[in-house]
């Protein structure tokens, strides 16, 4: 006998659970996440091997820089995968989910939350794996390098969560995977490049204004936030600025995406 549904209710927890499970079912983002993780671990391991081979004396960079490489790779690839998956959903599965969860803020929060948690978990796994490999093969890392690696993992988990959220919001705003991917790539790759070229081409004060603007685009902010290896030499200023910058992008895109999602008609 089927259960008596009068006892069943819907709340944020049940929708989060449903969305989380859906991520791992066929049609979810599990394959994409595994690809991102494999690419990230491979990048981190290669960086680890190269830095260990060329390092002449013990250094914290030998361990923290490969973790940075791994986390950056995961964050960017995972962001791209989320942009594609959420955009694809908007063209299909979203109407189905909207019919099952009619309280839009609840659905929006559940989908955003599961995306962020998956991104953070992915970075945690990748960076911990690279740190683990580093622990085994590294002969040139110091005790402080392992402390720094621990800090890097924490910061990178947070940063990836923010990048994942920005990707999710972009696709929610644009409602189609192709334009969302184009905007994602433009925002993370083309815009900072174009601004850097512009800053070099334009002389004087205008050039420095453009260079300043370039530093506030998501990709440079991500680099800043993830650059834990610079902490001993340059302090925590860059890292905090990077994280705060990403947080500002997240808040802005969340505001726009939330406004659109709560009011719009489904496809």
């Amino acid at each position: 006998m089927r259960s008596d549904d009068t006892t069943a209710t819907q709340n944020l927890g049940s929708v989060v659970k449903a969305e989380w499970r859906a991520l791992w079912l066929p049609g979810g983002t599990c394959v994409g996440t595994i690809i991102a993780a494999a690419a990230a671990i491979a990048t981190g391991t290669i960086a680890l091997l190269v830095l260990n081979a060329i390092a002449r004396e013990p250094s914290h960079v030998v361990l923290s820089a490969p973790i940075e490489a791994s986390s950056t790779t995961f964050a960017l690839v995972f962001g791209l995968i989320i942009t594609i998956a959420v955009g694809r959903d908007a063209e299909g599965r979203l109407a189905f989910t909207m019919l099952r969860t009619t309280v839009r803020p609840r659905l929006f929060a559940a989908r955003a939350l599961t995306t962020v948690v998956l991104g953070m978990l992915g970075t945690l796994v990748c960076s911990t794996a690279v740190a683990g490999v580093g622990l085994i093969i590294s002969t040139n890392s110091t005790v402080s390098a392992f402390e720094l690696a621990g800090l890097a993992i924490g910061v990178h988990v947070l940063g990836t969560g923010l990048i994942a959220l920005i990707s999710f919001e972009l696709s929610t705003i644009l409602r189609r995977s192709t334009p969302a991917v184009l905007v994602y790539l433009a925002l993370l790759v083309l815009l900072p490049l174009a601004l850097a070229v512009g800053a070099a081409a334009v002389p004087g004060g205008a050039g420095s204004v453009i260079a300043g603007a370039s530093a506030w685009t998501p990709a440079p902010l991500l680099m800043q936030a993830f650059a834990v290896s610079t902490l001993p030499t340059e302090g925590s200023g860059n890292l905090v600025t990077g994280l705060l910058g990403l947080l500002c992008w997240t808040l802005a895109t969340t505001f726009v995406a939330c406004t659109i999602f709560l009011r719009r008609d489904a496809n």
């Binding site: 089927r2 069943a8 209710t9 599965r93 909207m98 309280v103 009011r263 719009r264």
Partner: protein, 296 residues
């Protein structure tokens, strides 16, 4: 009970639904009919909260639905395209269970009921239209709501599938569920629906029981078979009545059966057969559309 009250929705300058109001009572199947472009889908999507109406509202069991969690009030199936093609039938039903905190065994049992237990782990995009319709119905039925809304659930179904849906919808209606069923298959709708709501150009042009809907134009057609067709023709013409010949019978329009009986009796003719010609739902539907000048 589903109540649609003065619902209007426009897309840009196009007014898709214009002040539509109707009721879907508990314990009955209400057929929702209208030509393509009449605004049926927009009304259904507004009831499901997929589109935001410009004005008016929808109530389920007396509660206004805007922003309300209706997952436990209204079971919905709008289109097979809404089903995520990359997912499996089991995955989709378990997702619905998860959103409402229901055990997964409910999903597995329903898969058996709709005959999809053998294909539960296949991706939905490999399903036939009929299989998708069965799955869609299972999705709508799973939360065991007191109101059910289905858009064209008979499309692509084989006779067995149609029979199954007919039987199942009658059963849920008999248990007190309010069922709103949109369909173009009039012959099937006439066997399933207790009530009809007809939409044309965004407006509700008819609402009532199936019998009322069909009977509205019945008085206009009476079949009479008499001993002399020629004499009957004269008698009816003398009373200014229009008629057509059908073999040895005449089909008279614009009057009542007792009136035709009285005329031929007074003309001294032997009445062999006299009956009101019942229109089918389909004939009534097309008759109404023709009257309003709409192409079906």
């Amino acid at each position: 009970m589903i109540e649609v009250v003065n619902l209007s929705k426009s897309y840009g300058r196009v007014l898709a639904v214009d002040q539509a109001s109707f009721t879907v009572p508990d314990g009955a199947v209400t057929g929702f009919v209208g030509p393509n472009g009449a605004g049926k889908s927009t009304v259904l999507r507004a009831i499901a909260q997929l589109v935001m109406p410009n004005s008016g509202n929808v109530r389920i069991d007396g509660r206004e639905t805007r922003g309300l969690d209706t997952s436990g009030l209204l079971g919905v199936y709008l289109s097979s395209e809404e089903l995520p093609g990359r997912a499996t039938a089991r995955g989709v039903l378990r997702y619905v269970c998860d959103t409402r905190g229901m055990p997964h065994r409910d999903a597995d049992e329903l898969l058996e009921v709709v005959g999809l237990d053998q294909t539960a782990t296949k991706r939905i995009r490999t399903f036939s239209v009929g299989m998708k319709q069965r799955l869609g119905l299972a999705v709508a039925l799973l939360p065991r709501t007191r109101a059910l809304m289905l858009d064209e659930p008979l499309n692509g179904l084989d006779p067995d599938g149609i029979h199954w849906i007919r039987h199942h919808l009658r059963q849920v209606a008999e248990h007190g569920t309010a069922v709103l069923l949109s369909s173009h298959v009039m012959s099937e709708l006439s066997q399933m629906a207790d009530r009809i709501v007809m939409l044309d150009r965004g407006r509700v042009v008819a609402e009532g029981t199936l019998a009322e809907f069909v009977a509205e134009r019945e008085a206009e057609r009476v079949l009479v078979e008499v001993s002399s067709v020629e004499s009957a023709r004269h008698a009816l013409s003398a009373h200014g009545l229009a008629f057509t010949e059908s073999g040895r019978a005449l089909i008279v329009s614009g009057t009542t059966t007792p009136e035709v009986g009285r005329i031929v009796f007074e003309a001294g003719l032997d009445v062999l057969h006299l009956q009101t010609v019942s229109r089918s739902l389909e004939e009534t539907y097309f008759g109404r559309l023709a009257k309003s000048g709409t192409q079906a």
